[in-house]
């Protein structure tokens, strides 16, 4: 049983150490040293098993965090992974990639450092893989119904696994050459090595999920044809249309969208040959956008031996502590130092891009100015313009929505004001067409994607069978806990 005084005995938060910077930037492997299971157990004992576990509320998946913290503390690894898997298909992804709103909501966090939930999560699943606890769960009964899942990111994979286990025959379509979507080509290996995806796919394949790569739905097969071929279709194509930058010089050579850059880098790390790879080697790199994608670019550029990397953000430097308008248990926007920031580069705030400058069509620099707030809008302050040297500018300004041309034109689906595909409370867009993940929600976190995938699977199962036993963790309209909702 949980030790109710655990949080008084172990007062410090202790997380796994990152490998030394000089060492780790020489390879693409994950930045963390091997975790110490003793520390993990001890850290798990800090969980207070709250009457209202806000962490569990803060997690879109509804991970039963107090339960598996306790099981981890007790060393009951098998039960821990069963419990974890009961709400999360892919803890090895979330344990590495999720920004952990659960930890922001941790009750201990009111006046102490929060429990190391994310790290406990990843240790549970890694240990489970090592111990051979992760085995295929093959359905006893096959329904005879077929489902096409379009897109193989976290939402699509989660839905596919749930539906396969419910006895449906599921085919996952991916236009790229490998399964995984953003997980595969958007996330650098130093954050998550791709073997984790492969191990999971191995399990899914054994369970009966079918994977079709290199098929671009809407082009290779029309949406309508797909719909006619399957009893249900799930659109899980993400929201990958990048936000464009509307300044002079964006078409200069040397200006790239972050995702193009990362994809190429990831392919190379995976062993592929990429012609004319955009590399940062020896270059002065400027990354526009202070978010996670920008940070991924930073780590990648560092490893490609860039001469310098500067990340510039248009807004203010986030607070280091919670401000009053982001009270506990909200997930606050805080100034964070990720592993890439530790390694290399500068971060600048309140920098507005005025234009990209170049010579002969080739980028040489970027003109920036201080950001000024006019009528709530952020604009460059006149007279503060200056030029920063740049050989490579990476645009990491976020995403505006799904790539929806083919689906809207072929199926007459509608988009909402944020250009996401409209769906009802049961994730259904129309007829047998369902939408899950960023394609419906807009750009979001991996946990939301998995949660939506799971929920959409339940909706599809119910649609096909009339009832379902599958969990329905989130509604399409659910939002993170906030003062404002």
């Amino acid at each position: 049983m949980a030790d109710p005084r655990g949080f008084l005995k172990v007062t410090d938060r202790e997380t796994a150490k990152r490998r030394p910077v000089p060492v780790r930037i020489k390879d693409w492997k994950e930045v963390y040293e091997e975790r110490n299971s003793g520390v993990i157990k001890e850290q798990a004992s800090r969980c207070m098993d709250c009457g209202i576990p806000f962490c569990h509320a803060g997690c879109p998946l509804g991970n039963l965090i107090p339960e598996w913290n306790d099981l981890t503390h007790l060393g009951k690894n098998k039960e821990a992974i069963d419990r974890l898997h009961s709400t999360n298909n892919f803890p090895e992804f979330t344990g590495r990639l999720c920004p952990a709103p659960c930890e922001s909501a941790c009750v201990l966090g009111i006046n102490q450092p929060a429990v190391t939930i994310k790290e406990i999560e990843v240790s549970i699943i890694d240990d489970a893989f090592d111990a051979g606890f992760v085995v295929p769960s093959v359905p006893d009964r096959i329904t005879g119904k077929t489902v096409a899942v379009v897109g193989s990111g976290p939402a699509g994979l989660a839905a596919a696994q749930q539906l396969t286990r419910a006895g449906h025959t599921v085919a996952v379509f991916e236009r790229d050459d490998r399964i995984g979507g953003l997980l595969r080509y958007g996330i650098p290996d130093f954050k998550m090595e791709k073997q984790h995806i492969d191990k999971r796919l191995e399990q899914m394949t054994a369970e009966g999920t079918r994977f079709r790569t290199g098929v671009d739905i809407g082009i290779d097969i029309t949406w309508e044809d797909l719909r006619l071929s399957y009893d249900a279709v799930l659109v899980a194509t993400g929201a990958i249309t990048p936000r464009a930058l509307d300044v002079l010089g964006v078409d200069l050579s040397g200006v790239h969208y972050a995702m193009e850059y990362l994809t190429e880098a990831n392919r190379v790390v995976a062993g592929d040959e990429v012609d004319n790879q955009v590399s940062a080697e020896g270059k002065h790199v400027v990354i526009l956008g202070g978010g996670d994608t920008g940070t991924d670019c930073l780590g990648t550029a560092t490893r490609q031996l860039a001469a310098s990397v500067t990340t510039i953000a248009i807004g203010q430097k986030p607070e280091e502590e919670r401000s009053e308008d982001q009270p506990w248990p909200m997930d606050p926007r805080l100034f964070e130092i990720s592993s890439a920031h530790e390694e290399f580069g500068d971060r600048k705030y309140l920098h507005s891009t005025v234009e990209l400058v170049g010579e002969n069509g080739i980028l040489t620099g970027i003109s920036v100015a201080d950001t000024e707030f006019v009528n709530g809008r952020r604009v460059p302050k006149k007279g503060t313009e200056r030029i920063m040297k740049a050989d490579l500018v990476l645009l990491a300004l976020g995403f505006t929505g799904p790539e929806s041309e083919t689906i809207t034109s072929q199926l007459n689906t509608e988009l909402d004001s944020s250009s996401n595909i409209i769906r009802d409370a049961k994730y259904r867009s129309k007829d047998s067409l369902f939408v899950a993940g960023d394609a419906g929600r807009g750009q979001s976190l991996i946990v939301w994607a998995i949660a939506e995938g799971r929920a959409a699977a339940a909706a599809i199962d119910e649609y096909l069978e009339g009832e379902t036993q599958l969990p329905f963790p989130v509604k399409p309209t659910d939002k993170p806990i906030s003062v404002y909702s």
């Binding site: 709250c50 069963d82 006893d140 419910a166 963790p473």
Partner: protein, 1517 residues
């Protein structure tokens, strides 16, 4: 249902309506018995009885109609010569005719009389004539006059002129039949005794019946009785005495006793009584508990048992755990326990058959009974001493009734028969022991069975089928399996009750436990375990009216819960002997065939039980083992109760033991309901297998699987004992089948059929929904489709701790967060989004009030600017009672500061208040609570209160006490509780000065005199019947009645209480409003409500239902930072709210301003509602039920069957009174003994001059000294004056509560004697009592004072020159007291002070004693609480030098104050006598005192960390 029958006639009670139900009426009373040993009858006996009765007036009550009493009466011998002289017709010789008063219906009198004569003729009796006794109805109150029957007297003789018992039996038949057939009511019909009674006050009885004043009206004995009913609808027939008894107290188990009587009826046969079928039902409908008791007693006596024998059967002493009891008597009791269960409850019963007259007390000794014997052979026994005016020199003996003991007088022989003699005579009537030896089967004697172990996989599958969750395993099963302890939780419950829960609930969840409050006390099953018993005998029960060896052929179980191997023994019993035969009936049904299949299966099960009985089964086992994909289990409670009631209806229930092999029972509440609905024994096999599995899979470690299963049984058993104790029941055999539950959300039809006799006020679901719930669970266990679920964990649960997939909680991440944020940021918009979230949840079927809607069209809205201001509304708000101890000083003070700022009221909670805060207008708590532990309740504390709140029960755990463990008694807590740091403190389940309604009246009386300006509250917990209790409380003159919902409650509580006891406040409040209105009492009390109130909507709904003040606890705590950790009991609150841990207290970040914001927001919301609904003030809205619209209530698959109309029934009550408090109670303060003395004592009170006042007193003068004490404290503060500054020299018998709460400086010296509660809450004063110098008896052997002396005393001295009653110096924390002999349970819960006992002690001394020292002369170890001795908690030792010196000093004072002869003898040769004394001292206390002494010697801070660390080392062992 229309109430009819003799007990419904001639009453003033309305028909049942709304939530009011006449079945809830309670009464309590004063009684007296007078007899003479002189051998001849006289009118003096009658006069003495009537005058005693008049002196008991204060124990009775009057209702809203001041002239109408609750009832009084007298029973005497047949006044033969009187009748001969007044009758116009001839009577046969005395003893050859019977007579009695008949209550006739005016309209049908003549035909009823004719019918009666016909029945007499059938019974070979002749009606000799009728007489109309003179009555004077002008003395009656109006209500009584309206209900008054036509009263006549009938005289009957037998055709063959028989007499004695033969005639009595025939008269009984005639009376009984005419009551059942014609509906007549005869007060009595006997050749030996006669009863005069009616709906009169004690003063009216004699003038109403002039016969009683006639000098020729003579008797050797008389019983008199004065009734205090909780309501204002007393009835003529329900006045006492009945035919054999008068009773003070309450039979808690009467429903079970009556059920079992009904079950026995088919077997009853008696040659003496003739055809019994004509006399059924034995138990009349509508009879009170006392009347029912009387009916059964009469049956036992007339069928051949002597009166003492029958009394011993019905109210056995606590024999089960008494080691030194006479073996023959033990056999007698055990044998009879197989024939009849005890009639359990607080009871002092006086009884007579016309020759023998006696009295007995229940095993707990919860009612007082005092007697005197005079030199000329008069014996007067009464609830109080001093009721008869007898010269002291005439008295040769003063005594008291003792628990489980009988006091008997044989008026024919002219002698007193002592308890031992009576009992040994009865015990030697038959060879009970031999019969037991040859018949009794003991489980351990049956052949052992090999233990069967189930695999984890099997256990898990069945866990699913029975709806187990992970939480069940973690929170219920694991703690029980590990430690044998019932699990504890905190912070109440905020999930939907079963009736409106979306999720499938277990049938158990639809039942809530009843609990004792006010009208009878809950018991302390831990400290007073010695009087409890879990032993039960199961198997066929035979004819009650015979006693044969075969009656003992039963199986004796030590515990009603049995293990799997034990059940196996019973299943195979026929292999072991030829007495028993067990048949198993399967309780599974084809779930796919729907609800019809369930109903059919239940019918089949009943039929199979019948077949089994035909085949000679002595044990029927109802088993739900063996479920599979097709077969689902019927809820075991349904199977159990269905078969139980079926067999009762068939008259065959007594032929068999009903054993339940149950997969769904896993919690204390589950087992308790099963026993309550008729299970003889329960095998909760899956719970036991789950426990073993938890060991097998390593979730719990350190114990064996076998031990885990034993622990589980122990925990469940202990829990059942606690549930019984909450209801005030001490033996499981009388708890069994007593149905002490009410149903919420079950349809009347379902209940009538399967749970016959249970209350279900709101209707609800029937079998189809129960089937749906079963099917849902079943589908989860046996899914039709897909992946195997073996590795899928169970459902997570979420009943206690919030989970997303679990049941919804009103407090959840969103609401807690928004409440905190809105109040800290003072943002009303976010606050609205908080209340919307709560209200929305409420509408989504989380609460009953969520189902209501507000009718906004009924009245014209008013502009909000015209509505009463926020400032004015917040004055009606209070915070809940949370002690400083349960919450941190910071959290406590923050609430107080906030409430003082807005003019609301915060509450001290149990646990006192530091003088520093007491006197600080900013930080004080306006409401001072008086709870059962009486911690810190001093004259000072009471004097500085605005409101005084008597906590009768608390929402989270009604009927239970509490405990502050040693490690939480930090120095600052100990200081305000007047105790020692590190010494654990116990709050007992009952207030030991409140065992009944008249006792509550007494405490209200005392408190009102301790502070005349304060309002006195009585806090009750909502349950079915609370309205009636509230009416009684209003009659007891409380100023405020607080109805607390079941769901509130911070602090720790056993989970079964937290979830299953009490009802939502909506129900209790509505019932209270309705009952008060019906009684005409509403306008004299303020009604307050609390329990999980969270929003303005909650306030408005409460107001519309009748509340005028509102309490909040959890919500303001959340505002202070509480995040519902639910670990209040662990002292690990991470936000510093509910902890004393200094490190955690530093994390407290609550602010008074935020709390102020909360209440102002709340008031603002209330204003908005008022405006919308068209009210200008909150007062206008109070009781306006019609604004609540039930027709538009949300519909729901489960709620559809609910009928909420009874909640709104107040709108149909026609009354002229206001719906809110518009007048006040008449406390008659100026009539108090002290009142005129305040002026006389001015020199002392004002100027501190020494002075003495002398006076004569009698037993009607109560709480002498309390008001003077209040005056003294007002002027002189905590320290009072020098001892003895103001002395009262009193002569006579003092009324109850002599010297209550008396502060330092006051001294009372009584020459005479006194009643109960002497020195209650003594705060520094001195009390001495000695017999008159002329007394004709030795002081040290006679009773000088009553029960519960020095309860909660904090300082001062008490010297008593004589013997006293039970529970001497309970919860003393600092006073010095001397008595020369004490009853049972002395020194219970004592935490400090010194007690010297110079004479005999009763049993169970020192139970729960955690501090202080007692010096007891010749203490026998067997009298000390067994557990405390065994565990070494209490040490007995010889006196060391310091002890001897202290004792000598105290004895010298005792001698000084009382001239005690005994003290003189002891002091004369002290060195030799001191060796006979034993020092009683709690072990930990001794060590802590030592630590403190060392610290003092070395100059270390006593309250510092260093000392505290040492103390913790001691207390942690």
């Amino acid at each position: 249902m229309v109430n009819s029958g003799p007990f419904y006639k001639f009453g003033t009670a309305p028909q049942n309506q709304g939530l009011y139900d006449s079945a809830n009426e309670h009464d309590a009373c004063g009684l007296a018995m007078v007899a003479t040993l002189r051998g001849y009858a006289g009118h003096d006996i009658v006069q003495m009885a009537l005058s005693s009765l008049r002196n008991l007036e204060h124990r009775g009550a009057v209702g809203s109609d001041a002239g109408t009493g609750d009832g009084a009466g007298i029973l005497t011998q047949m006044p033969d010569s009187f009748f001969r002289s007044v009758l116009s017709f001839e009577l046969p010789v005395a003893g050859a005719y019977g007579a009695g008063l008949v209550f006739l219906d005016t309209e049908t009198a003549s035909e009823d009389k004719a019918k009666f004569e016909k029945i007499c003729a059938e019974e070979s009796l002749t009606v000799l004539g009728w007489r109309v006794p003179p009555t004077d109805s002008s003395v009656l109150g109006e209500l009584a006059r309206k209900a008054m029957p036509l009263i006549e007297q009938v005289f009957v003789s037998s055709n063959d002129l028989i007499s004695g018992m033969d005639l009595e039996r025939r008269l009984f038949r005639a009376r009984n039949r005419s009551e059942r057939d014609i509906g007549l009511y005869l007060c009595s019909l006997s050749s030996k005794t006669i009863v005069y009674k009616g709906m009169v006050t004690t003063l009216q009885l004699e003038p109403f019946y002039p016969d009683l004043s006639d000098e020729r009206f003579e008797s050797l004995l008389a019983l008199v009785h004065s009734r205090f009913s909780t309501n204002t609808f007393p009835s003529w027939p329900l006045a006492h005495p009945f035919r054999y008894i008068a009773h003070n107290g309450e039979i808690n188990t009467v429903r079970g006793n009556a059920n079992w009587m009904a079950a026995r009826e088919s077997q009853l046969s008696s040659e003496l009584l003739g055809d019994i079928d004509q006399l059924k039902p034995i138990v009349s409908k509508g009879a009170s508990d006392s009347a029912t008791f009387d009916e059964v007693l009469e049956l036992l006596v007339l069928s051949g048992r002597s009166l003492p024998h029958a009394m011993m059967m019905m109210i056995p002493g606590a024999w089960e755990k008494q080691l030194d009891i006479d073996p023959q008597l033990r056999d007698f009791y055990e044998y009879h326990s197989m024939i009849m269960e005890p009639w359990d409850g607080p009871a002092a019963v006086v009884f007579t058959d016309g020759d023998l007259v006696g009295a007995t007390l229940d095993r707990n000794g919860l009612r007082p009974g005092r007697f005197v014997v005079t030199e000329d052979g008069f014996i007067i026994l009464a609830s109080e001493i001093g009721v008869a005016d007898i010269a002291p020199d005439k008295i040769v003996r003063k005594g008291r009734l003792q628990p489980g003991k009988m006091f008997l007088i044989d008026t024919l022989a002219g002698q007193i028969v002592e308890d031992e003699q009576v009992k040994s005579e009865v015990a030697s009537l038959e060879p009970w022991g031999e019969w037991l030896e040859s018949g009794r089967i003991k489980l351990r004697d049956l052949p052992e069975r090999e233990h069967v172990r189930y695999s984890s996989k099997s256990v898990k599958r069945r866990q699913r089928a029975f709806g187990y969750t992970e939480e069940d395993l973690k929170i219920f099963v694991a703690p029980m399996a590990l430690a044998g302890q019932e699990p504890i939780g905190a912070m109440g419950t905020d999930t939907p009750i079963a009736a409106i829960s979306e999720r499938p609930k277990l049938l158990f969840d639809y039942f809530t436990q009843q609990f004792a409050q006010v009208t009878n006390p809950p018991l302390d099953s831990i400290r007073e375990e010695v009087v409890t018993s879990m032993t039960t005998s199961i198997g066929p029960v035979r004819n009650l009216l015979e006693a044969r060896p075969e009656h003992a052929q039963q199986m004796v179980l030590d515990y009603p819960i049995i293990g799997n191997d034990e059940l196996a023994k019973i299943k195979h019993i026929d292999r072991a002997n030829d007495i028993g035969k067990a048949v198993t009936v399967s309780c599974l049904y084809r779930v796919d065939d729907g609800p019809e299949a369930l109903e059919e299966r239940l019918a089949e099960m009943c039929a199979e039980a019948d077949e089994a009985l035909l085949a000679g089964a002595t044990f029927i086992i109802l088993s739900d083992r063996g479920c599979n994909r097709e077969l689902a289990p019927v809820p075991s409670l349904l199977s159990c109760s269905a078969v139980h009631h079926h067999l009762i209806r068939n008259g065959t229930r007594m032929m068999t033991g009903l054993v339940i092999e149950s997969g769904d029972a896993r919690d204390v509440h589950h087992v308790s309901t099963l026993i309550g609905f008729g299970a003889s024994a329960i095998n909760p096999y899956l719970a036991l297998e789950s426990a073993e599995d938890l060991v097998a899979i390593g979730t719990i470690t350190g114990i064996t699987a076998e031990r885990s299963s034993k622990n589980m049984i122990k925990a469940l058993g202990k829990g059942v004992l606690k549930v019984m104790s909450k209801m005030g029941i001490s033996t499981v055999s009388s708890y069994g089948g007593a149905q002490c539950f009410e149903a919420i959300g079950l349809s009347q039809e379902l209940v009538d059929k399967y749970f016959t006799g249970t209350t279900t006020k709101l209707g609800g679901v029937a079998l189809p929904i129960l089937h749906d719930e079963i099917a849902q669970r079943h589908t989860a266990a046996y899914p039709i489709e897909t992946a195997n679920k073996d590795s899928t964990p169970l459902d997570v649960g979420g009943e206690m701790k919030w989970r997303r997939d679990g049941p919804p909680h009103l407090f959840n991440p969103e609401t807690v967060f928004k409440l905190q944020h809105s109040t800290s940021q003072k943002n009303y918009e976010i606050f609205k989004s908080y209340t919307n979230a709560v209200n929305d949840q409420a509408e989504r079927l989380m609460t009953i009030r969520g189902l209501f809607s507000l009718n906004k069209d009924l009245r014209e809205p008013v502009p909000i600017s015209e509505v009463e201001s926020v400032d004015s509304i917040v004055k009606r708000f209070a915070t809940g009672a949370m002690s400083m101890g349960s919450i941190s000083p910071e959290a406590h003070e923050t609430l107080a500061i906030a409430m003082n700022r807005i003019g609301g009221r915060s509450n001290t909670g149990e646990g006192g208040e530091s003088v520093e805060r007491l006197l600080d207008r900013e930080r004080r708590s306006a409401v001072k609570q008086v709870a059962s532990g009486r911690f810190g309740v001093t004259s000072m504390y009471l004097t500085h209160a605005d409101d005084l709140q008597i906590k009768m029960a608390q929402g989270a755990k009604p009927g239970e006490g509490g405990q502050l463990p040693p490690n939480k008694v930090y120095p600052w807590i100990a200081e305000i509780r007047h105790s020692t740091p590190g010494v654990g403190l116990i709050s007992p389940p009952p207030h030991h000065d409140i065992y009944s309604i008249e006792d509550l009246k007494q405490l209200i009386f005392d408190l009102k005199r301790a502070n005349r300006a304060a309002r006195v509250h009585v806090k009750l917990v909502s349950q079915f019947g609370v309205g009636t209790v509230a009416a009684g409380v209003a009659k007891a003159k409380a100023d405020v009645v607080l109805i607390s919902g079941h769901d509130g409650g911070t602090g720790a509580s056993p989970l079964n209480s937290l979830k299953h006891a009490g009802t939502p406040w909506e129900l209790g409040l509505a019932e209270t409003q309705q009952t008060l209105l019906l009684n005409g009492l509403r306008d004299r009390v303020v009604v307050q409500v609390d329990g999980s109130m969270k929003t303005g909507r909650d306030v408005i709904i409460a107001a519309l239902l009748g509340a005028e003040e509102f309490g909040f606890a959890t919500a303001p705590l959340v505002v202070e930072g509480c995040i519902l950790m639910r670990v209040c009991h662990l002292d690990t609150c991470p936000v510093g709210v509910a902890t004393q841990n200094p490190e955690l207290r530093q994390r407290f970040h609550g602010q008074a301003d935020h709390v102020v914001n909360f209440f102002e927001f709340l008031a603002q919301e209330v204003r908005e509602y008022l405006a919308e609904l068209g009210f200008r003030t909150l007062q206008d809205a109070i009781g306006q039920v019609e604004v609540l619209d039930v027709n538009r209530a949300i519909r729901h698959w489960k709620a559809d069957g609910l009928d909420l109309a009874p909640i709104f029934a107040a709108k149909d009550i026609v009354t002229t009174q206001t719906q809110y408090c518009s007048t006040s109670q008449d406390h008659e303060l100026e009539k108090h003994f002290d009142y005129p003395l305040i002026d006389r004592a001015k020199p002392a009170l004002k100027d501190g001059m020494s002075m003495e006042i002398s006076s004569q007193i009698n037993n009607t003068m109560q709480a002498i000294g309390t008001m003077l004490g209040n005056e003294l404290t007002k002027k002189w503060g905590e320290q009072g004056l020098e001892p003895g500054t103001l002395k009262l020299n009193l002569t006579g018998s003092a009324g109850q509560s002599l010297g209550a709460f008396m502060p330092r400086g006051l001294q009372i010296d009584v020459e005479g004697d006194c009643n109960d509660y002497v020195g209650k809450g003594l705060s520094g004063g001195i009390i001495s009592v000695k017999p008159p110098t002329t007394a004709g008896f030795p002081a040290s052997e006679n009773v000088i004072a009553g029960n519960v002396i020095g309860y909660g005393a904090t300082s001062g001295k008490i010297f008593l020159n004589g013997v006293v009653g039970e529970r001497f110096m309970v919860r003393n924390s600092g006073a010095i007291a001397v008595a020369e002999g004490v009853g049972d349970h002395a020194l219970e819960y004592m935490t400090g002070g010194r007690v010297v006992i110079l004479g005999k002690t009763g049993i169970n001394l020192g139970a729960g004693m955690s501090g202080g020292i007692a010096y007891v002369h010749r203490l026998s170890e067997s009298k000390v609480n067994r557990e405390a001795l065994q565990l070494g908690e209490i040490t007995l030792s010889a006196l060391d030098k310091a002890g001897a010196d202290e004792l000598r000093g105290i004895l010298e004072q005792h001698l000084d104050f009382t001239d005690s002869l005994l003290a003189k003898i002891l002091l004369d040769d002290f060195p030799s006598h001191v060796k006979d004394f034993v020092k009683v001292m709690p072990r930990d206390y001794a060590r802590i005192v030592e630590i403190q002494q060392d610290a003092q010697a070395t100059g270390i801070d006593l309250d510092g960390q260093e000392v505290w660390t040492q103390i913790l080392e001691v207390t942690n062992g």
